[in-house]
C-alpha cells in the first residue's frame, strides 16, 4: 500500500473538508420543523400549562396523524425567538403573541390567518367573549381568549400563622391600605424579617401592581389590548393618560409609606418575582402581592405552605374590593405560513371544551375564561377562593381597540417612553426618584405627545382614528362588591 506523503494527505484532507462543507451546506437549509410533513410547531409561554398542552396535543395529534413540535418559552424569550424566527422565515405554525404588538398589527402585516374551528367549538363561546379588533377582524375569527378578564395580579398572600401571631385577621387579611401598612409593621415587629416583599426587579409586574392598585383606588381606566401595557391604559372618561392622577399618586404614596416604615424587604428592588416568592415562603417577609397563580406555584414547589396559606383581595383605600381589567386578548395565533391549518384548527377546537377549561383550572395559572370550571376542578381551596374573590371584584373595563381597531395601529406606531411607569415605581421605591409627582407628570405628558404623533401617522396612512376613540362617557366603577 502506498504511503501518503504530506502533500497528498493535505490534498485529500482538503478535498474531504470541501466535500463535507458542501454536504453541510446542502443539509443546512433543510428548513424548520413545520415543513416536515405532518408536523405542527407550537410555541407558547404558558409554562404552568405545559402538561395540559402536551396532553391535548397527544389526544388530538395522534388521531389526525400529525405530531406537534411544542416549545414553551418564558415570556421574554418568546419575544426574542419570534423576532429571530420572523427574520429567518421559521415562524411556528401556532404561537402566542410574544411580539408585543397589538393584535391588529398581526393581522394587517399578514403574519396570521383566520383559524378554522369546528362548528361545535364556535358555538361554545358565550355572548360577548369574542371582540372585534381583538379576536375577530372583519368578522373572521383569528384567535380566542383562554383566560377570564376577571383577574388581577395584586392579591395579598400571607401565612395565616404569622398574621395571627402579629395580631392580624388570618381569615380575611388586610382590607385597607392602612390595615395593610399596620399589619406589615406588626409582622416586622413579630419576627418576620420584613412585613412586605415584592420582586421589584420585574418591572412589568411592578407596573401591573401599580395599575391594579390605582383601579382599587377608584381610577376608571380603559385597557387597549393585552395586559396592562402602560401606553394602552387610559382614563376611560377623558381618554387622557392617568398616571399623574390622584389615584396613581395615592398608590405611590401608599407604596412609599411601606418603604418609609421600613417594612419592605431590603433587596426587593433587585429581586425577581420567583426569588421574592421563595423568600416569602421561607419566612423572610409576611405579605406578598401576586396573582391567583401563586397558589398553583406553591402547590407545585412549596406544597407544605398550602396548609396555612391565607389570602385577601387587593387592599383598597376604603376597604371596598374593586378592580378593573380589560378584555383578554387571543391566546394563540395561526401563522400565515402554516402548512396544516386544518390540524391546527382541530387542536384549537379542543381548547374550547369544558374538559380543557377544567384542565386550565387544575393547572392553577390564570383562571379559565369559564371560571365555573374552577369549582369542578381539583384545586386547593386558596386558588378557588382567589378566583371567587376576583370574579366578584374585577370589573370588565372598556377597550378602545374594541371600539376602533385602528387604535391598535396607533399603539403599534408609538415609540417607548422611558423611564416608564414600572421604572419610575422602581426608582421611587429604591429611593432614586425624589419628586415622583413631577416624574409621573413628565411621563404622562411625553406619552400623550407620542400618542398624538402616532395618531397623526396612522391618520396619514388613511385610517380614521382620534382621541375620541379612547373616551367612554358612560364608564364608571360601581360594581365593586363590599366584602363580607
Amino acid at each position: 500500500m502506498r504511503n501518503l506523503d504530506r502533500r497528498t494527505f493535505l490534498a485529500l484532507g482538503g478535498a474531504a473538508g470541501l466535500a463535507g462543507a458542501l454536504g453541510l451546506a446542502g443539509c443546512g437549509r433543510s428548513g424548520p420543523a413545520r415543513d416536515v410533513a405532518g408536523t405542527i410547531t407550537w410555541w407558547d409561554q404558558f409554562q404552568p400549562l405545559e402538561a395540559l398542552q402536551r396532553e391535548t396535543f397527544d389526544a388530538v395529534a395522534g388521531r389526525l396523524g400529525v405530531t406537534v413540535d411544542y416549545t414553551v418559552y418564558d415570556p421574554a424569550g418568546l419575544g426574542q425567538a419570534l423576532q429571530l424566527a420572523q427574520q429567518s422565515g421559521q415562524v411556528p405554525d401556532v404561537f402566542t403573541n410574544g411580539y408585543g404588538v397589538p393584535e391588529l398589527v398581526l393581522v394587517e402585516n399578514g403574519w396570521v390567518r383566520p383559524i378554522e374551528l369546528s362548528p361545535e367549538a364556535r358555538a361554545r363561546f358565550p355572548e360577548g367573549t369574542l371582540v372585534e379588533g381583538l379576536h375577530t377582524f372583519g368578522g373572521e375569527l383569528y384567535s380566542f381568549p383562554l383566560f377570564t378578564p376577571h383577574q388581577h395580579a395584586t392579591l395579598t398572600w400571607f401565612d395565616q400563622r404569622a398574621v395571627e401571631a402579629a395580631g392580624g385577621d388570618p381569615e380575611n387579611g388586610p382590607r385597607t391600605w392602612d390595615e395593610f401598612r399596620s399589619l406589615a409593621g406588626a409582622l416586622t415587629e413579630a419576627g418576620s424579617s420584613s412585613g412586605w416583599i415584592e420582586g421589584l426587579a420585574l418591572l412589568d409586574r411592578l407596573r401591573q401592581h401599580v395599575i391594579d392598585l390605582a383601579t382599587g383606588a377608584g381610577a376608571v381606566l380603559s385597557f387597549a389590548g393585552n395586559g396592562a401595557d402602560a401606553p394602552g391604559v387610559a382614563d376611560a372618561r377623558t381618554g387622557e393618560y392617568p398616571f399623574d392622577s390622584a389615584e396613581f399618586r395615592d398608590v405611590f404614596e401608599f407604596l412609599g409609606s411601606l418603604v418609609r416604615d421600613g417594612v419592605m424587604f431590603p433587596s426587593s428592588t433587585s429581586l425577581d418575582v420567583r426569588t421574592a416568592r421563595a423568600r416569602w415562603v421561607g419566612g423572610s417577609a409576611g405579605l406578598f402581592f401576586d396573582g391567583p397563580w401563586n397558589a398553583g406555584v406553591l402547590a407545585g414547589q412549596f406544597p407544605d405552605a398550602l396548609a396555612t396559606l391565607g389570602l385577601a383581595d387587593m387592599p383598597t383605600p376604603d376597604g371596598v374590593a374593586r378592580a378593573m381589567n380589560g378584555p383578554v386578548g387571543g391566546a394563540f395565533w395561526l401563522s400565515r405560513t402554516s402548512s396544516d391549518a386544518a390540524a391546527a384548527g382541530e387542536i384549537l377546537s379542543r381548547m374550547t371544551t369544558a374538559d380543557y377549561a377544567r384542565g386550565l383550572a387544575a393547572a392553577m395559572d390564570q383562571p379559565p375564561a369559564d371560571v365555573g370550571a374552577v369549582a369542578e376542578a381539583d384545586v386547593p381551596e386558596a386558588y378557588a377562593r382567589a378566583v371567587s374573590l376576583m370574579r366578584d371584584s374585577v370589573r370588565l373595563a372598556p377597550s378602545p381597540v374594541a371600539k376602533n381597531p385602528a387604535v391598535g395601529a396607533v399603539l403599534s406606531e408609538m415609540k417607548q417612553i422611558r423611564p416608564n411607569l414600572g421604572e419610575i415605581a422602581q426608582g421611587y421605591l429604591g429611593g432614586n426618584v425624589d419628586d415622583v409627582g413631577a416624574e409621573l407628570t413628565r411621563y404622562r405628558s411625553r406619552l400623550a405627545t407620542e400618542r398624538d404623533r402616532a395618531i397623526e401617522v396612522v391618520r396619514a396612512g388613511g385610517q380614521e382614528v382620534s382621541l375620541d376613540d379612547w373616551i367612554f362617557d358612560d364608564a364608571d366603577q360601581t360594581t365593586g362588591s363590599p366584602r363580607s
Binding site: 404588538v101 398589527v105 426587593s268
Partner: protein, 306 residues
C-alpha cells in the same frame, strides 16, 4: 517582452490555491460573524424597523438624531466611560505590579498564584454574575453575613443605586484582572535575561534594574495592553445583564445593555434605533482606543528614551 517563469514563481503559483483554501474558513467565518453583522447593523441603523415585519422604511439620520437627544443613551455612555476611567488604569497598574512579583523566580507558589488569578478569567461571566447575586445578597449572603458580624450593614450591593455600579465594577475588575496580568507576564518574558544579568554584574541594585531596565523595556507594551483592557471593559454586557440588568433605575445601564433592551427586552422593540446606538458605541470604542493608544504611546516613548 518575454515573461520568464522562474521555478520560484511557478512554486508560488502552485501554492496559491492552497493558500486560499486554508484561508477560506477564516474568511467565511469572519465574514459571516463579524463583517456581515457590522455592515448589516450600519444598514439597519438607517431604518425605522422594529426587528420584524416586512416594513422597513428608510429613516435617514433619524435614529442618530434620536440617540443624540435621548437622555438614557447619554446616561449609558456616561456609565460605560466611568467604568473605563475607574477600572482600566487600576487594572493595568495592579496587574503590572502583580506580574512583576509573580515573575520573580524566588516567589514561592508563583504558579499556584498565577492560576488563582487566572481562574476567574476562564469562568463563564454569566455564571459569575448569577453567583454574585447570591454572594452579595443583603439577606443571607456570605458578604453581608461577615459585615453583620462586624456590625455593618446589611448593604444592598445590587439593589441600592448608589452601590450597584461600584459593585459591578469591583466584580468586573476581579474577573478580568488575571487576563491583564497574563499580558504583563508575557511582556516580561521579552526582557532578555542577559541584560538583567549584565546590569547585575555592573553592580545595579534591584531597584535600579527595575527602574532602568524592566520599566523602560515594558513601556512599549503599555499601549497594546491598555487598548486590550479598554475593549474588554466595553464588552461588559453579560456581567451587567446577569447582576443588575442595568438597574436599579439605570444606575448600571451600560450602552451594551441599553442596546439589548432597545432591540429585544421591550414590548416595543426598535431594531433600527438599537443598531444606531450600536454603531455609535463602535465609533466611541474607536475614539477611546485611539486616544488611549496615543497617550500610551507617548508614555511608552517617554519611558523608552529615559
Amino acid at each position: 517582452m518575454t515573461l520568464v517563469s522562474t521555478p520560484h514563481a511557478r512554486r508560488a503559483a502552485a501554492h496559491r490555491p492552497w493558500i486560499w483554501l486554508f484561508l477560506l474558513p477564516t474568511i467565511v467565518l469572519f465574514g459571516a460573524y463579524t463583517v456581515w453583522p457590522a455592515l448589516a447593523s450600519i444598514w439597519y441603523s438607517f431604518l425605522n424597523w422594529s426587528g420584524y415585519g416586512p416594513e422597513r422604511p428608510f429613516a435617514g439620520w433619524a435614529n442618530y438624531q434620536l440617540a443624540f437627544s435621548d437622555p438614557l443613551f447619554w446616561k449609558s455612555i456616561g456609565v460605560t466611560l466611568l467604568i473605563i476611567v475607574v477600572t482600566v488604569p487600576l487594572r493595568v497598574l495592579l496587574a503590572l505590579v502583580l506580574a512583576i512579583f509573580l515573575n520573580d523566580p524566588r516567589l514561592p507558589f508563583a504558579r499556584v498564584l498565577r492560576t488563582a488569578f487566572f481562574v476567574p478569567v476562564v469562568a463563564t461571566t454569566a455564571i459569575i454574575g448569577i453567583v454574585m447575586n447570591f454572594v452579595l445578597d443583603p439577606a443571607g449572603g456570605p458578604v453581608n453575613h461577615v459585615l453583620g458580624n462586624l456590625g455593618i450593614g446589611p448593604v444592598d450591593f445590587l439593589g441600592d443605586a448608589s452601590a450597584a455600579l461600584w459593585t459591578v465594577m469591583g466584580v468586573h475588575f476581579w474577573k478580568w484582572l488575571g487576563l491583564t496580568l497574563m499580558y504583563w507576564l508575557a511582556a516580561l518574558q521579552t526582557i532578555p535575561n542577559d541584560v538583567q544579568e549584565a546590569a547585575r554584574v555592573d553592580g545595579a541594585s534591584a531597584r535600579q534594574r527595575f527602574t532602568h531596565i524592566t520599566l523602560p523595556m515594558l513601556a512599549p507594551f503599555v499601549a497594546i495592553i491598555t487598548m486590550l483592557t479598554i475593549v474588554e471593559t466595553m464588552q461588559i454586557f453579560d456581567l451587567v445583564q446577569t447582576m443588575t440588568g442595568g438597574g436599579p433605575f439605570f444606575s448600571t445601564l451600560v450602552t451594551e445593555v441599553y442596546i439589548y433592551q432597545q432591540a429585544f427586552e421591550t414590548a416595543r422593540p426598535e431594531y433600527g434605533y438599537a443598531s444606531a446606538v450600536g454603531v455609535l458605541l463602535g465609533v466611541l470604542t474607536l475614539v477611546v482606543v485611539g486616544v488611549a493608544a496615543i497617550v500610551s504611546r507617548l508614555i511608552g516613548r517617554k519611558g523608552a528614551v529615559r
